[in-house]
Each structure stands twice: as structure tokens, then as C-alpha cells.
Symmetry: C3
Subunit: 319 residues, 3 copies
């Protein structure tokens, strides 16, 4: 079966998911991202790699933060960026997703950054572009339903590599609502590909997928056991809509059991790093002392996120 993310030369054609992305490409993205972190520290944070290209931020689901990171990345590469908040637009007028895509392609789009509430929407777009022979147009998944958020996963891997150098000797723990998290799905896929020997997922039974052990990860329903000797602790955001629903008693009780406090963090290795995809719910999944403490690398994650997105965009534009 054709890998929809690769072109016929095996190069990156679209970034849809970290699941199924070959190690060689995953590693290449991280390598290419490194010099882009330096661009961001220059006086003139601008490179001409996407000059004259039209990048469409196609957000069928609102997300100012994610849209902003892609907008910055594209503008620093000198692209023309068009923001489309599609929920308030043509779909209301009865147009199909693929008709919208066809129209934007006809306006000579070069790249689509797609956020969609339905899992698989970016795949549908990529398949359609392939079927209609428009292989010069690229798709980046900026989060689809519960499925994937690959640039988040990539920036997480970049962050781990930056602070831990190697993957082959790590214990990495993912804590929280794995069941509903596209971020977690992307993280687990990448950690597996990069050869992390021990990955643990930690959380209440109601928020862990039933089949998660099939992914080769260890499941812990005990926070202390899960954190013990960890090198990397990746906290997940607890979505507001879960907090008072059937799955959880209350944010306070969640924090008591699953919130990351200095005491719990002390069970991990002394030099363990703490990550969070943001935006944080302080006092729900993470204590402020930890969030602002010396082991947190949450803001470097954001910085690396711009560099990783610039890397993906410039790779796609070059292929």
C-alpha cells in the first residue's frame, strides 16, 4: 500500500501523522529544525525559503495558539499566509470539504495547514490531491479529531533529544487523558519509532484506551509507580469538557491523584524533564511549583515548535 505521506522518491509529501512516518524522515526533520532555532534568535528572523509561496491556514476548528505557531513559522520563511477560519465560511453555505480544497488549489495554493474536528480529514485532502494529480501541493495536519497532532509530537521529540541527547536509554512517561488526546497518539508513535525502550502511560482507567498495551507501552494506574525513575514526564492537558463529566469526579480530585506535584516528581530521576503541550490548567494536571520549576521545559517546547514547523514547511516546499 502506498504511504500517503511520501512521494514516489520516498520523500516527505505531506505530514499527516507520526504513525507510519519512517525513522529516516523523522530524524531528518529534527536535524533540519536545529539551525532554525538559531534563526529565531537573529535580529532579522527571516529566511526566503518560501518566498512567493501561498500557505493556507485552514482551520475548521478554532485554535488561535496553533494557528499562530504556523503563521509565525510561515512568515519567517517569507511565505504569503492566508488565514481561513472555515467554520464561519463556505461550509455554512453547503459547500463540501473537497470543493473548498479544489477552489483553494485553483487559487494556486502551495501548502495547506489543516485543523479539523474530524479524525482523518487531512488524509481525505491528501488522497484527493493525489487522485487529481496535484502533487505539488502539500498538507500538514495541525490536529484532526482524536487522531493525530504530528507537529506537536515532533516538537516533543526535538525537546527530548535537545535535553537528553539519546532516545535508546530513556524511560518516558505520558500522564493523563491519553484516551481523548491526539497529542498522546502522536507522542507514542514517535517514541516507538525513535526506539525509546520504556514508554509508560499513566492515568485513570476511564481515560486510557483499552488497547494501549498493543502499542508496546506499559500501562500504570498508579501515579507513583508510573513516575518512578522516569527521565521524561510528559503531562497531557485535561480538556475542560472532561472535568465535570461522567469520566471524572472533579478537577480537585483529579489533581489530588494525577496532578504533578514536586513530591510526585521527586520519584522520577533527579534530572528528569517535565513537558506539557499547553495551554496548562495549573492546579488541575500540574502544580505551579512544577510548571515554573527548574525541571520544566515547557517554554523551550514552544520555541522548538516554531523551528520544527519551519523545518517541515521547508522540507515539503523542497520536495
Amino acid at each position: 500500500m502506498r504511504n500517503p505521506q511520501l512521494n514516489k522518491n520516498g520523500e516527505l509529501q505531506h505530514l499527516l501523522s507520526l504513525d507510519g512516518l519512517p525513522l529516516s524522515i523523522l530524524g531528518a526533520i529534527l536535524d533540519i529544525a536545529a539551525p532554525f532555532t538559531e534563526v529565531a534568535e537573529r535580529e532579522v528572523k527571516k529566511l526566503p525559503l518560501l518566498r512567493g509561496k501561498s500557505v493556507f491556514n485552514l482551520f475548521f476548528e478554532n485554535s488561535t495558539r496553533t494557528r499562530t505557531t504556523f503563521e509565525i513559522a510561515a512568515k519567517r520563511l517569507s511565505a504569503d499566509v492566508i488565514n481561513l477560519n472555515v467554520s464561519t465560511s463556505s461550509t455554512k453555505k453547503g459547500e463540501t470539504l473537497l470543493d473548498t480544497i479544489d477552489n483553494l488549489c485553483a487559487m494556486q495554493a502551495d501548502m495547506f495547514v489543516v485543523r479539523h474536528e474530524s479524525s482523518g480529514a487531512p488524509y481525505l485532502i491528501a488522497d484527493h490531491l493525489h487522485a487529481t494529480g496535484r502533487n505539488h501541493i502539500h498538507v500538514i495536519n495541525a490536529g484532526d479529531g482524536r487522531h493525530a497532532h504530528p507537529t506537536q509530537g515532533l516538537l516533543d521529540m526535538y525537546t527530548i533529544r535537545h535535553f537528553k541527547k539519546e532516545f535508546h536509554n530513556l524511560i518516558v512517561v505520558v500522564v493523563g487523558d491519553v484516551l481523548h488526546s491526539r497529542v498522546a497518539r502522536s507522542q507514542l508513535a514517535a517514541l516507538t519509532t525513535l526506539g525509546v525502550p520504556e514508554v509508560r502511560v499513566v492515568g485513570p482507567r476511564t481515560l486510557l484506551p483499552t488497547d494501549v498495551e498493543r502499542l508496546g507501552v506499559r500501562v500504570c494506574h498508579d501515579m507513583n509507580e508510573g513516575l518512578r525513575d522516569a527521565d521524561v514526564v510528559m503531562m497531557l492537558r485535561l480538556q475542560n469538557e472532561r472535568m465535570n463529566g461522567a469520566l471524572l469526579p472533579s478537577p480537585q480530585e483529579y489533581f489530588k491523584v494525577w496532578g504533578l506535584t514536586p513530591e510526585k516528581l521527586a520519584l522520577a530521576k533527579p534530572n528528569a524533564i517535565v513537558m506539557h503541550p499547553g495551554p496548562m490548567n495549573r492546579g488541575v494536571e500540574i502544580d505551579s511549583t512544577v510548571a515554573d520549576g527548574g525541571q520544566a521545559v515547557i517554554l523551550p517546547q514552544v520555541t522548538f515548535g516554531i523551528a520544527v514547523r519551519m523545518a517541515v514547511m521547508s522540507m515539503l516546499a523542497g520536495n
Copy 2:
């Protein structure tokens, strides 16, 4: 009487309507648009013609699609583009339309792209600029009420010329809700100016203007009769708000009588082209087989639309 669209040298000053636009200027826009279609296929889709100019997309009525086409056109000409969704802005604060315009002029606007729910609003603005001696500022009508949508009409003419080469030997048919359509009004004006010998409008009595024959067009209340031997079939979008109102029984019944199916299209000339301004209601005014078929030129219309808007903007900036 002064033609508000022309300056004292007879050059294009504003683009407000295709009704009253001289053939020489209409033809010049189409000629100038041609090389811009090639720009869009380059690696670097960028020309410096509007560099340092400030283009304001003044949308008093929301339309992401139309705004996007103008935003792309202006950015490819290197303009600074400012998007103003005015419905959510100063008008709510009690400011008059002309006070808003005066303010934006004072910010050294060079060009206004205006979409407004009231017919005539762009004229009001153009008259005001004239009366106050600000002849270096240009207005493009991006759709006003039921009145006009001249860039849509221009891209339609560009599309017809591209596929049919000449206008003087054509039978052109406009099908649907002509009564409420600013697109149709612009199309009919341009087709007349360009010398199309036979223009037909086809649709239910409730959706055709009563005085349409005065425009020199032939009225058909029978779809088969209307389509017979046509060279160009221009479908109109059926607005959602008409579908369940007093004017029409239901979308299904509309489709049965007025929807363009392969069977009905077979009545036209074998090489007839099918056009639609988008967004399409598949299964209402047009069948998917036709929309995706070999005779449809709906996506080239979109591509030509960018080129035509670049042509209009660069002409205005040069005059």
C-alpha cells in the same frame, strides 16, 4: 454625466460595475490579466507592482471566499493587506460609513475592496472620494447587495474568451435565480458590451426579473428550450434562503426542473462549457456528474479570478 468609474483621462478610476464600463476598458482588463495567469504558475508568485501600497479589504458583509481571492491577488502584487470585518467594528459604535472611509483615507489607504449588503455602497464611497478630491484612492466593488459583482463578471468573461476565443458568435445561457443575483447582473452587462449575439436567461418566473427583456436578452421558462445549442451555460448559485421560502417548493423540485444534469446538458452544443460562480450546491442547481465532468470550467474560473483581480488592482494603481 460623469462616469464615476473613469478619471478625467478616461482611464479606470474605480471598478464599481460592468454596466457602463466601456468596451475598451473591459477588453484592456482581460488583456492585462493574461500574463498574470502565468505569474501564478511560477516558483515565486510575487510581483512588486503594489509594493508599499495599503489595500483595505472592507467587508461589511462576511465572505471568506471573496475576501481570500482579493487578499491573494493583493499579496502577490506585494501590497500590504489589511482585513477589516466592519460588521463587528465601528458601525456598531454608531460611526457612519463615510466617517469610517475618511478615517481609513487618513491612514493613507491606497485602495478599498468593498463588500456591502446595500446596493450602491461602493458608489457612495467613490462619490465621496471624488467630492473630497482624493482621486489617488481607488474603490473595487466586491459585491454590493443585489446590484453588481464586477470582478466575478470579469473572470467569467475571461473564462469564456479563454475557451471560446471570440464573443460575436456565441449563444450564452444564464440559468437560475437571476432576480436576486448580483453575479447575473454583472454577467449580462458584460456579455452585452462584448457583443454576444444571443444571451438567454432561464429560470422560474418567480426568480427572473420582470424587466429582463429590456436588457436585450431572451427569456426562457423552459430549461430544454433555454439550453438548446448553447455554447456557454452559466449556472447561478441558489441561495439557501430561497430554498424553502415562498418562491420555490423545495431544493429537490428545483433540481428536477432547473438542475443541470448530463441529459439536459446534452441539448447544448457538444463543446459547450459549464460555469458556476461557487460555492456550488451539488444536487440543487447542478448535478455532480456535470460539476466534475469534462465540460465544467468551474475551477479555471477561480484561477482566472485571481489573475483578473491582479489586473484590476495593477491598472488602478497605475492610473
Copy 3:
């Protein structure tokens, strides 16, 4: 106590308020703004002073007009501008203001233009940047609660200097809802700093602060007395929410007593200028004959506003 607006060399670090801004810096901004008014009249309205810088328009309170002026100023300085309407964004997701700021800093922001409904929010951000050692990032207050709107005050001072040359011989009158006006607060601070010998505030008792005389200004509850022999008449906008509340009988009665008509204006000096921060309520605080008359300098205010904002941004970027 440290002046949060100045860096350790006494240069402008943030623009938060005109209250406490030294005369030398206030004068420098006005001087630097002058050549920027000429840029706006060029064919190519573009300077490379902020090229490669990322300017974030952080609007926690919606204001299309103010956002537009900053967006234009930044784009004419070649910055990359990112518009964030934060009310519809992360704050809804429970993120704190300072977490939002930390995140944007991690994306290598160079400048924040902040509008916030709470007085003091820009100070909070500036303090946080100082406390965390991020002194290369600058904050411009674009209006906070009832507290300050310093760029509006600066453009008003620029306008007065432009038309009156000197400040030391002027009678300046501020008319209207001083109590709720951040604009008035910024004006009064600047007029005092610039050495205007007589400043009067005029308005109904319910709309003047009780302690206003402490600011060294003269309070008048009589419009005729207030306007007599004035050189500059600065009208304030009457917020819609005041018009039918407990503080005022009705817009019509307000206009009768406090609205600026030609008759009342005749009490001022013959060459007095009339200013308004916009958007105007014609027939409420100002008569159309005055607003459109020869003494009004309301549109020059807008033009100078772009230049003043370019001056502030380029000064900050240079320090």
C-alpha cells in the same frame, strides 16, 4: 522606584502611560514621528526598520480601529504582524494572562501591542518581562480599562504641536466624559508634562472625576465658560453605554448642553482647533457642521497617529 517604562540607560523600554513619561522622551517621540508623516505620502510607504521582527497585536478587548492603526504602522516598518484576538482564544481555555505571554515570548515575540479591559494589564506584562529578564521584548499599551491610551495622547500632542507650534502659551479644553475616559487621562498627563499653562476640563458633574483639580486642571461645569478663549478644544467620545444610563438623561439633552456647535465654538479663539479621538457620535458630542468644518483637525489626528505609532515602535526596537 524604578520607572517601568525606561531601561537602565533611561531610554524608552515600554510605552505604558504618558503619566510618568519624562518630557525628554515625550519630546523625542514627537520629533521622531515627524519624518514618518512623510513616509506615508511616498509611492512606496515602506521602511525596513522592523524587518524580521514579530509584532503581536494582543487584543483582549476588541477594537478593529485601534488594531488597524498599529497593524499599518508595523507593516510600514516591514515587521511581521500577528493579530491575536485573545478573548476568543486561550483565556477561554483557562490559561492565565502571563502563561499566554510566556508562550508568545517563547515564539520569539519582539513587541506586544496590548489592549485589555482591565486597567494595569500592560504593566503586569511589563513587570513580568522585567522579572524574567526578557528585556529585549517591548510592550505598547493600546488602551487598558479606564487607565491610559498613551499613543492616542501622543498623537493628540503631535497634532497640537503641528497646528500651534508651542505649548507654553495655550488654553486647552477637554470636553465630555472625563471620568470614564482613558483618552482624557493620557491627554491631561501629556498636557501637564508639556507645560500647557491652562488646561480645563468641561462636563457634567456625573462625568468628571471628583479629584480632577488635583491634576492641576481647572474644572468647569459650564460649557460657555469652559470654551472661552480656548486655543484647542478636545472633544471626548460619549460611550454608548453612558447615553441611557443613570448618569445622563438622553443623547439629545447631552447634545443640547455639551455638544459642540458652531455657536459654542465661536466662544473659543477664532483660530482654535477642534479635536476628537473618534469614532464620532455626530449630533451627540459634536455637531456635523463643526466636525466637517475648517477648524476640525480630526482627520489629521488619524494620519499623525500612524506616524506616532511608527515612531514609538522604531524607538523601542532601537533601544
